[in-house]
Subunit: 136 residues, 4 copies
């Protein structure tokens, strides 16, 4: 048996609140999702006017960031044609997102969950996700 | 062309907050989800300790309540073997939940979204969902 | 942030070994799977001669037992036509099994994972899963 | 009528044990899966700390290696844009992995199963899978 740290609902709300503020600063409504250490959804919000199709993407980005303990922007680099993980998005039943906006949530150096942002450009999603993750 | 009313993120949060309070009164951690008039997720929370398998169920109950404009407890009655909607749960890619805990969100007499609760007994989920829906 | 206990690979192997012994006593080859506190697979074995179709079922039973913190035999009772959870198997993308053979793994009174057994009769699967779970 | 050779659970365990040892030498926790001659899972383990998202990938790499009787590293070469098998990963319901870490299991020159490793870099996964396969 061993023990693992994980985000609570309070943590998830703090992360989401920071993401919303950053989205407001960008002038870009988005979806923001937080998963726990097991990759399971803890909380999600869609800002008014954000893309409908981004609900699923935000949740999946959060999952991906935790499932592989790296940002989806980093995963994007190695999953391009010719990259060492090219084709990884076929796994895990459509849950693997290979473009920016998913970031692991860290307690010290330990991954304790993930946050996913979707609705803006790749760059905007990454900026907002980074701001969200720092609020943990 | 016509106009439709729908819940905003602020509305969803008010609904969820009322549900959380009711869940606390029941002593039962749950998942609570709100969808808009289009049946698309606006917000979701999983209280600490709530069932993992209820994330999907809460979201689906909210969807079902809006998709058919009735409570999932009412739908349960007509979707039993012999009922007029028996088998309806096979439609819509697993999103149709036919047991209590999903309630339409009303503005006057118009359905503007749905709320879904999952994590307790059927009775608890219904009680919490009703309390949540009234906060709109 | 909070801390949760979860099964390790060593724990999973001990659970599976006990299940294998029980299956041998029953004279019934089976699949045995263990998931962690997040519902994610830790280990799986298929005994020689066990049903191919039971690979997926054993893994899903283990998931279900953890996702709802109860045995799938108990869930079976409340998900029959007329039961309070009738229709629950439509949720979670085919992962919810509503017949016996999935049992939560407990550390004291805390659920730290799940074990699923599939390949025999319902009764055999339950007996083997119970024996496996006790080895934790 | 004809006869096929296939890996037993004992064989799968020997393969996995060799993979675990190689993973330890690499200092990289991984998932290791073995499928039989029919492409069906025989055994799987996730070492403590290995990626959650790699459960599915390891199982799929093992399947792919047996399904096409070649290593997934070799398949990667011909499934790049412009390659003769470009697009093959769309087949078989997401089970085809086109990056290194899946290796056929051989009895003499006959394929009798497959092993899949996921959790490290492509190179690490290939090294570990090769070590595992040699233990058959």
């Amino acid at each position: 048996m061993h023990t693992v740290e994980t985000v609570s609902l309070d943590d998830a709300r703090r992360v989401i609140a920071a993401g919303e503020e950053a989205a407001l600063a960008e002038g870009q409504p988005v979806n923001i999702a937080v998963v726990d250490v097991g990759g399971n959804l803890v909380a999600h919000i869609r800002q008014d006017g954000a893309w409908l199709g981004s609900v699923d993407i935000a949740i999946n980005k959060a999952y991906t960031a935790r499932a592989f303990d790296l940002s989806t922007a980093d995963l994007a680099k190695s999953s391009k044609p010719g990259g060492q993980f090219y084709g990884i998005q076929e796994s895990n039943h459509g849950q693997v997102m290979i473009f920016g906006g998913g970031v692991p949530l860290l307690s010290g150096e330990t991954v304790v969950g993930g946050v996913g942002v979707s609705g803006g450009t790749g760059e905007q999603d990454e900026t907002i996700a980074a701001a969200a993750a720092q609020a943990l």
